[in-house]
């Protein structure tokens, strides 16, 4: 254990804090579900990238900052943004899931073409995984792609495709080898969303907004080189992406960011001059969550160290999504309670404008449940934790695709 900061680390911390103090007015508000990044978000992203506070370890040739891996640098930056409640940049599926997947198994050409625009927030990705008949049982995907004259020709339907209505690209899991067994018949394709034959129908969620979509494919033609790894490797690639999705969804820095926002609300004097933090019951609720967030943050530091040393954290990594999404919802639950009846006024603004703070909290309070379900629901996570993490036997299988 060595958490001492070197001179360089201290200098970096001061530099990040100074950066935040100087530029915080330019930052978009964090939270509130997913929207296409607007100009404010894109400009903030560009500033973070050029300052090395985003994509810090992504090689320069792919559009990142190119700094060597240093766990504490990453932690210092994340911590400074969380504590100040300032947006740490865009975290969408392209950035947090596709980019690390391409960096891990993509071709040189794919990395050069997609990583830069994705981390800049210019190329928005959606995830073509779930289908009406294969949600938790992802490998049962029926959407198929047959090869014809140098193209994959895709037919089928995906569901729960968040961001599909404004995405530029989709990473798609589909069946290219119908004669092979279930898991061996899948491929992972990169599909431009403006390809003819793709129809996106918005799916209105409980937040009142259309964050998800049904996506239909009718003879959608994609060049055969738009594949990650090879034909039949789709399940392997999808699992790499899912690994990163689980880490994204349980992100400890997001939890810290939320906690700090709630603490600030509770420390603010109310109209009668009193503070919620002075009330023992409210304070204890906040303190309980602080303890949980601390555990999540230190756990994350442990995982980062493992990652830097090339050690597989095993169980430690598998719990992150389930642990983090449940904790996130407990945090937003406290936030909406703190807002109380005055916070019930709810007018989501759609894609065009920023939501007011109370509406944003209520969107997150509901959206968090979507995150508990999406990316492998909590029950699927518990299967993974139980089977891969603890070595418990699988449920006996019934039938095959």
């Amino acid at each position: 254990m060595d958490l001492t900061l070197t001179e360089m680390h201290r200098a970096l911390r001061d530099e990040v804090n100074a950066f935040i103090a100087r530029h915080r007015d330019r930052a978009p508000r964090p939270g509130g579900g997913r929207k296409r990044p607007d100009r404010k978000v894109l400009e903030w992203q560009a500033l973070l990238l050029e300052s090395g506070y985003f994509g810090r370890n992504i090689p320069r040739e792919y559009g990142g900052f190119g700094a060597p891996h240093d766990v504490i640098e990453v932690a210092i930056i994340a911590d400074a943004f969380s504590r100040s409640g300032v947006s740490p940049g865009i975290h969408n599926q392209g950035i947090s899931m596709l980019v690390p997947t391409l960096l891990e198994v993509g071709t040189e050409e794919q990395k050069r073409r997609w990583v830069g625009p994705t981390i800049r927030g210019e190329a928005i990705w959606c995830q073509g995984y779930s289908e009406p008949g294969s949600g938790s049982d992802l490998a049962a995907a029926h959407t198929r792609a047959a090869v014809d004259d140098g193209f994959f020709v895709i037919n089928g339907q995906k569901i729960w495709t968040s961001s599909a209505h404004y995405a530029d690209m989709m990473f798609l899991l589909c069946r290219t080898e119908p004669d092979k067994p279930k898991h061996a018949g899948l491929s992972y394709l990169l599909v431009p969303m403006n390809t003819p034959g793709i129809e996106v129908r918005p799916l209105r969620t409980m937040t009142g907004r259309a964050e998800f979509n049904d996506t239909f494919f009718t003879d959608v033609r994609v060049p055969v080189d738009q594949i990650v790894m090879g034909r039949g490797d789709g399940w392997q690639v999808a699992n790499i992406t899912l690994k990163y999705e689980r880490l994204l969804l349980g992100d400890a820095n997001k939890l810290q960011n939320r906690f700090e926002a709630i603490r600030r609300m509770m420390q603010e004097p109310r109209p009668d001059g009193s503070r919620l933090l002075d009330c023992a019951e409210w304070r204890d609720r906040l303190l309980r969550l602080q303890g949980e967030v601390m555990a999540a943050r230190y756990h994350n530091l442990r995982l980062l160290t493992d990652q830097a040393e090339g050690v597989d954290s095993g169980l430690g990594r598998l719990i992150v999504k389930y642990h983090g999404t449940m904790l996130a919802h407990r945090l937003t639950s406290l936030a909406v309670d703190v807002l109380g009846s005055a916070g019930l006024a709810y007018e989501p603004q759609g894609e065009a404008a920023e939501d007011d703070p109370a509406t944003t909290w209520h969107i997150d309070y509901m959206y968090d449940i979507g995150l508990i379900i999406g990316g492998g629901s909590s029950n699927i996570q518990k299967n993974i934790i139980g089977e891969r993490g603890l070595g418990l036997p699988r449920e006996p299988k019934v039938g095959r695709a």
Binding site: M1, L392, P393
Partner: protein
């Protein structure tokens, strides 16, 4: 920067756990636990040979000069095996009290004796700990009178270290005049509660060399809280491991019960709750030595959070074992009770969270 254990720490942990599992099979543990005084001379000697008693003692006094993270690994291993032995108070809290509040002469006399394993020191923090029970001491003319309840590591103690309300600490000989030490078996038969009644008992030493005695006392308390958090972590990990092993072997309805989601999910829930606690304990222990501005917050949250999580793990792990878990046969209850004990001693979760709020300036003391 790295967040994790060194190879040395892993090796030491491995040999300690090897020793404890050979030394404390269930039948032996039962026998040692029955008297309920939390002390066995043979076990104490064996642990001394492994270096436990001198581990935190600075090298100049004949110790290994290790830090609180090393001590937390020991506490975790002791909790895992429900070892009936003094450690948290005797070897950690008392030593740190001497280091922080004893003068040079006192240190030179006593610290080498702690390192040699000659002293076992029960510690009583009284009201400062948040413990329930009596805590009223008068100190006059070098003598102590009054009562303090619930000393930690008081079974088999050669000495007691009791805190006065002003943060000074008095070292008492266990055989001194006017001392009545009542050793009560606790629900956790591996550690007793010791209540002291004192009538004009002479203090061997008064630790008053610090100019901020209340802060020093709070740091001693926080070190103890980290040790108890580590102890709970170990005990809960043992229960989880056993629940998982049982779920892999017990067959019902023609299947091992671990293949049923109902059981599997209980195990997954336990692992999900408990795994981040490990990093939290490491951090809290490390902070006591290396990140002083966060030491109090981390220690208090570690004790509070571990108590919440391990209470849940203790229930679920017992439940996975079905009726067997509720019997005395499996001995699973030793760890259950260990967790029960640790939660109440040195302040409950509510008290620790309160102290965390004070430590970060949310409210006044």
């Amino acid at each position: 920067m790295r967040f994790g254990l060194t190879e040395d720490q892993k090796l030491f942990d491995h040999s300690l756990r090897g020793f404890l599992s050979a030394r404390l099979p269930l039948d032996v543990l039962r026998r040692l636990a029955e008297p309920g005084n939390g002390f066995d001379a043979g076990l104490w000697k064996g642990l001394g040979e492994l270096g436990l008693q001198a581990m935190l003692v600075p090298e100049e006094y004949g110790g290994a000069g290790l830090g609180l993270l090393d001590a937390a690994l020991v506490a975790e291993a002791l909790g895992f095996h429900a070892a009936p032995t003094p450690f948290a108070a005797s070897q950690v809290m008392a030593l740190r009290a001497f280091q922080a509040a004893a003068d040079d002469v006192q240190r030179r006399i006593w610290i080498p004796r702690i390192a040699a394993g000659e002293m076992r020191i029960g510690v009583g923090l009284g009201g400062m700990s948040g413990q329930t029970g009596r805590a009223a001491l008068r100190f006059q003319g070098g003598r102590l009178s009054g009562a303090v309840d619930g000393l930690l590591d008081g079974g088999g103690a050669t000495h007691f270290l009791v805190y006065l309300a002003d943060g000074r600490a008095a070292l008492l000989d266990a055989d001194a005049t006017g001392i009545t030490a009542t050793v009560r078996r606790s629900v956790d038969r591996t550690r007793p509660l010791v209540d002291l009644d004192l009538a004009e008992t002479p203090a061997v030493e008064l630790l008053e060399a610090s100019n901020a005695p209340l802060q020093v006392a709070a740091r001693v308390r926080d070190a103890g809280r980290v040790m108890l958090a580590a102890d709970m972590l170990g005990a809960a990990q043992a229960m989880l491991d056993r629940a998982v092993a049982y779920a892999k072997e017990r067959v019902q309805f023609g299947r091992v019960i671990g293949s049923f989601q109902g059981v599997k999910y209980m195990c997954a829930d336990m692992a999900t709750m408990l795994e981040p606690c490990r990093a939290m304990v490491w951090y809290a222990a490390y902070a006591q030595d290396a990140i002083l501005e966060e030491a109090a917050i981390a220690a208090n949250h570690a004790k509070a959070h571990l108590a919440e999580v391990t209470r849940e793990v203790a229930r679920l792990a017992t439940e996975v074992h079905g009726g067997m878990g509720f019997t005395d046969l499996l001995g699973l209850h030793f760890q259950f009770k260990r967790i029960t004990f640790d939660r109440q001693v040195l302040g409950t979760s509510e008290r620790c969270r309160h102290d965390a709020a004070v430590a970060q300036g949310w409210i006044g003391a």
